[in-house]
């Protein structure tokens, strides 16, 4: 369970909170781009633990989405 950022940052200088939020967004962007968030959602949806089998199932499910996604010019 993550702490509410407003409570978590209480008592710290404003720029520290801002930097923390920036880092948090950056990590979330990276996790989304690299499909780590998608994998976490898959594990949550299927109520499974991370394992080679679970990842293989995730990849199978996402194969058609990933393969049909063009990379831009």
């Amino acid at each position: 369970m993550r702490t509410d950022p407003k409570i978590r940052g209480r008592g710290r200088p404003r720029y520290t909170n801002w930097l923390r939020e920036l880092a948090d967004v950056f990590v979330r962007v990276i996790r989304e781009i690299f499909d780590e968030s998608a994998y976490a959602r898959f594990l949550s949806r299927t109520q499974t633990q991370s394992s080679p089998q679970a990842y293989a199932a995730f990849r199978r499910e996402n194969e058609s989405l990933k393969a049909r996604r063009p990379r831009c010019c």
Partner: protein
């Protein structure tokens, strides 16, 4: 008081932007600092986003913060997922940023920094960002439908068919041109070939690591892949300096072309997890890191631009590509200002992640501004080079001569001094045998980028490492586009042929996979091969063809957008998409006409074919003549198809405005969002 301060702030930004634009536009005969371009870009984007995109959002599109998006209504934790707007922004930017905005501005720099920079800024604010924004919003309002589906539903059957053909054509031509850029960057470069060859086993290793060792730890495996790629760059230097090994990796252009075609075929037919996905992750990791690094390098170094504002080649006689500013500068810049390809992303993954309608403005309009900034940085990287060096690298042997002394003398006679010895020294400093006739834009960009990086980090001693890092970055980028594009094209062919014979439409049936992958590779391989065999370097014909097809796809997207705006009953505000549409029609149709029928053999395909036909016949010449005629035919077909969708749209607009046709848009029904209170 706060309102007064806000007005004052925006007046200051406008004044600063005007000063920066005046500086880059009016300075003649003296060099300017690159920071003027950066400042002009920031101010233009800030004003465009704050005022123009806000006007479009409020008055034209009527963004509705109360309306639930498909990500919310159809949420399934797979593709429909309501996502934080900054995360969607990053995801969308990573998807739209490709090699185009890096290559186009480098080629357009032959006209000087002014025409390209102005079009990158104005084209993005008034056309490219608008296209990405409106298509994203319209797709959001239609459950994330693709451009082809929207064209079929809102314009008509012809619109849907034209969008399909335009998308397939642009993919084929893009892959051919991209592969040629890689070939030209890697030919006779054992260091570069070794580094890029190593990315294939590295990607395979990442695939296995992800699947069996640390499932799902993509960032971790990408860091590992990046470290291995850096080791490969370091190892490449050793390979290039070891004659027995260098021999194996010193490849001629035709050999490289065949290797790339085989790679494209394999990547399309192998399972996604094994090669395509890990390469994609690695490429994205390197891409985002390098773009960030380049921005930091430019800001830290604040380099001087050595290229003049305008060169003598504005008359259309340029060695890099032939043709006058209008229309060829616009065709060449392509993705840095407007990219039709973005409409595929804006109507693909992104609309399924948007949490609230108003966020489409930041994601659609904002991400294209970031892409345009990348194009400005590419322009800076090209223009920090001495013009003589720039032209020596980018001019084909067919124009300046193959011998270094001849090429240097020709380029110097244009008023851009360069010597064979000077070019040899630069080539040595970056670990290459020669930099003459390295057309395609990638080597020039790499030299410029290495110059910026080595000036701010590591000095001349690491110039070669930075150069090969830049080459690796571009080649990795393009090859990822190539393997993903081949696979996407394969699916499109399978779906189309599946209507004729059902089994071929089964995407998991191996004979169908092999046949359609082969068909797709043969299609772009044909363009690659003609580029490799072209004495003018290939880029002179392929890049304009790519630019035309890309801008024609943007024409299709803007046509669909204008139709929807007219049907929404906001025809008097349709100018926001209609004006860029008319501009693109003027640019693309003029360029297409010139490429087909211009009497100058360096511009017109048919004139070039006639010139070749007047020479003593040979097998080689017959091939070149066939290529010219094929290029003219492809250009003509694309132009005709887009004319068809224009005519169909025009009849529809007139019908709707005259009240003869129903003005019903095919939007999903309104559902109140649960995120409304966040507004």
């Amino acid at each position: 008081m706060a309102k007064f301060l806000r007005i004052l702030l925006w007046l200051c930004i406008a004044a600063l932007g005007a000063l920066a634009l005046a500086t880059i536009a009016l300075h003649r005969g003296e060099q300017i600092n690159a920071m003027w371009l950066v400042l002009a870009a920031f101010c233009t984007y800030a004003l465009g986003y704050r005022f123009y995109s806000r006007f479009i959002a409020a008055k034209v599109l009527g963004l509705d913060g109360q309306r639930a998006t498909p990500a919310e209504r159809l949420e399934n934790s797979r593709d429909f997922v309501p996502t934080n707007k900054w995360v969607v922004f990053g995801h969308h930017f990573a998807a739209i940023a490709g090699p185009g905005p890096l290559i186009g501005p480098v080629l357009a720099a032959q006209l000087g920094y002014l025409p390209g920079t102005l079009w990158i800024l104005l084209g993005a604010v008034f056309a490219g960002c608008v296209q990405d924004f409106v298509i994203l919003l319209f797709s959001v309002r239609r459950d994330g439908k693709s451009l082809t589906e929207m064209a079929r539903q809102e314009v008509g059957r012809v619109g849907g068919f034209v969008a399909y053909v335009a998308i397939l054509s642009i993919i084929v031509i893009l892959l051919g041109a991209g592969a040629l850029i890689v070939v030209n960057a890697l030919k006779a470069s054992p260091w570069g070939v070794f580094t890029i060859a190593m990315t294939i086993p590295i990607a395979l290793l990442m695939g296995v690591y992800l699947r069996s060792i640390r499932p799902g730890k993509v960032f971790e495996s990408s860091v590992l892949g990046f470290v291995l790629v850096m080791l490969a760059i370091w190892g490449g230097q050793w390979v290039s300096q070891t004659p027995s090994l260098a021999r194996w990796f010193t490849l001629a252009a035709p050999t490289l072309a065949i290797a790339i075609m085989l790679y494209g075929f394999a990547a399309s037919a192998l399972p996604v997890w094994l090669l395509l996905a890990p390469r994609d992750y690695l490429s994205t990791f390197v891409k985002l890191g390098t773009i960030g690094l380049l921005a930091v390098g430019i800001l830290a170094l604040r380099p001087t631009l050595h290229m003049p504002a305008l060169t003598r080649f504005v008359d259309g006689s340029g060695p890099v590509f032939a043709g006058k500013i209008f229309p060829f500068a616009f065709i060449t810049i392509a993705c840095g200002a407007v990219s039709g390809f973005h409409s595929l992303i804006s109507s693909g993954t992104t609309p399924k992640m948007i949490r609230r309608e108003p966020e489409t403005r930041m994601v659609g309009y904002g991400a294209m501004m970031a892409e345009s900034m990348v194009a400005v940085m590419a322009m800076i990287a090209a223009c920090v080079l001495q013009p003589g060096t720039y032209f020596a690298i980018n001019s084909p042997a067919g124009v300046v001569g193959a011998a270094p002394e001849t090429a240097a003398a020709t380029i110097s006679s244009w008023g851009f001094p360069v010597t064979a010895e000077g070019m040899h020294a630069i080539a040595q400093s970056v670990g290459e045998q020669t930099l003459f006739n390295r057309t395609g834009g990638a080597p020039a960009f790499a030299v410029g980028m290495a110059h910026i990086f080595s000036s701010s980090l590591g000095g001349q001693a690491v110039m070669a490492i930075w150069y090969h890092f830049a080459i690796m970055f571009e080649a990795l980028f393009i090859l990822t586009t190539l393997d993903a594009g081949t696979r996407v094209g394969r699916f499109m062919i399978q779906e189309a042929l599946g209507h004729l014979w059902k089994p071929i439409g089964r995407t998991s049936w191996y004979p169908s996979i092999l046949a359609t992958s082969g068909l797709m590779v043969a299609a772009w391989g044909c363009f690659l091969w003609q580029g490799v065999k072209d004495p003018l370097g290939g880029i002179n014909s392929l890049w304009p063809l790519f630019g035309i097809s890309n801008q024609l796809l943007a024409t299709v997207a803007l046509c669909v957008a204008t139709t929807i705006i007219v049907k929404m009953g906001r025809a008097r505000l349709a100018a926001v998409t209609l004006v860029p549409l008319l501009w693109l029609v003027a640019v693309t149709f003029t360029a297409s006409w010139h490429k087909m029928f211009d009497p100058n053999p360096r511009i017109g395909f048919l004139a070039h074919a006639r010139m070749l036909a007047s020479l003593p016949p040979s097998h080689e010449l017959a091939h070149l003549i066939f290529n010219d005629r094929l290029d003219a035919l492809v250009t003509g077909i694309l132009m005709t198809l887009v004319a068809l969708i224009l005519v169909e749209s025009l009849f529809l607009w007139i019908g709707v405005l005259a009240g003869r046709k129903e003005a019903a848009v095919k939007e999903s029904p309104f559902v109140l969002t649960r995120f409304a209170e966040e507004g």
